[in-house]
């Protein structure tokens, strides 16, 4: 695990003097994680809302389909946050019981 991180970021981060700058690496990792999470959400949201809102694909996204997609996106975010909160409180409860 550490090895792969080291070799992946070593090239960019160590360019200065052969020594890795931990601060720089942490920043890069954080950005990459944020990008990966956004992509993950985007991909799943697109799949779900396509399924819900596009019955028979027509020659264009019509008005009602666009409205449905917009609503679906908002509800998907609500659902994501609800799930995140529920999972977090479950973890908290289990930690308290240990």
């Amino acid at each position: 695990m550490e090895g792969s991180f080291g070799s992946e970021f070593g090239g960019a981060a160590g360019a200065g003097g052969g020594k890795l700058d931990p601060g720089l690496i942490m920043e890069q990792v954080k950005v990459q994680i944020a990008v990966a999470n956004a992509q993950e959400l985007l991909q799943r949201m697109t799949n779900k809302c396509f399924r819900k809102c596009i019955g028979k694909p027509g020659s264009a996204l019509d008005n009602s389909e666009q409205k449905c997609i917009a609503m679906c996106m908002d509800r998907y975010m609500d659902a994501w946050n609800t799930v995140s909160r529920a999972y977090n409180s479950r973890l908290q409860r289990e930690r308290a019981n240990m």
Binding site: M1, S7, R44, M71, R75, A79, W80, T82, N88
Partner: protein, 95 residues
């Protein structure tokens, strides 16, 4: 710990960096499971997306998360028991 011999190829590992990676890995596992459960529970709990998430759907999502984790723990426990009582199975599993 002797830092010179900690990890081959990396030289000394910054303890701060190591801690950072542990924390981020943990956070990432959490997020990944949230993505997965949101997708699963969406199928079970969502009809037509309305102007807001109604309380019935919200309750369904919370229950869905709880039962998903229960299911995962149940399966883990049962596999453990099966392995204890049927060692032959455990050998084929561990390969």
């Amino acid at each position: 710990m002797d830092s010179s011999s900690s990890v081959a190829g990396l030289g000394s590992v910054d303890p701060q960096l190591q801690h950072f990676i542990e924390v981020e890995t943990q956070k990432q596992r959490f997020q990944q499971l949230v993505h997965q459960m949101t997708e699963l529970c969406w199928e079970k709990c969502m009809d037509k997306p309305g102007p807001k998430l109604d309380s019935r759907a919200e309750t369904c999502f919370v229950n869905c998360v709880e039962r998903f984790i229960d299911t995962s723990q149940f399966i883990l426990n049962r596999l453990e028991q099966t392995q204890k009582s049927r060692p032959a199975f455990s050998e084929s599993l561990s390969d």
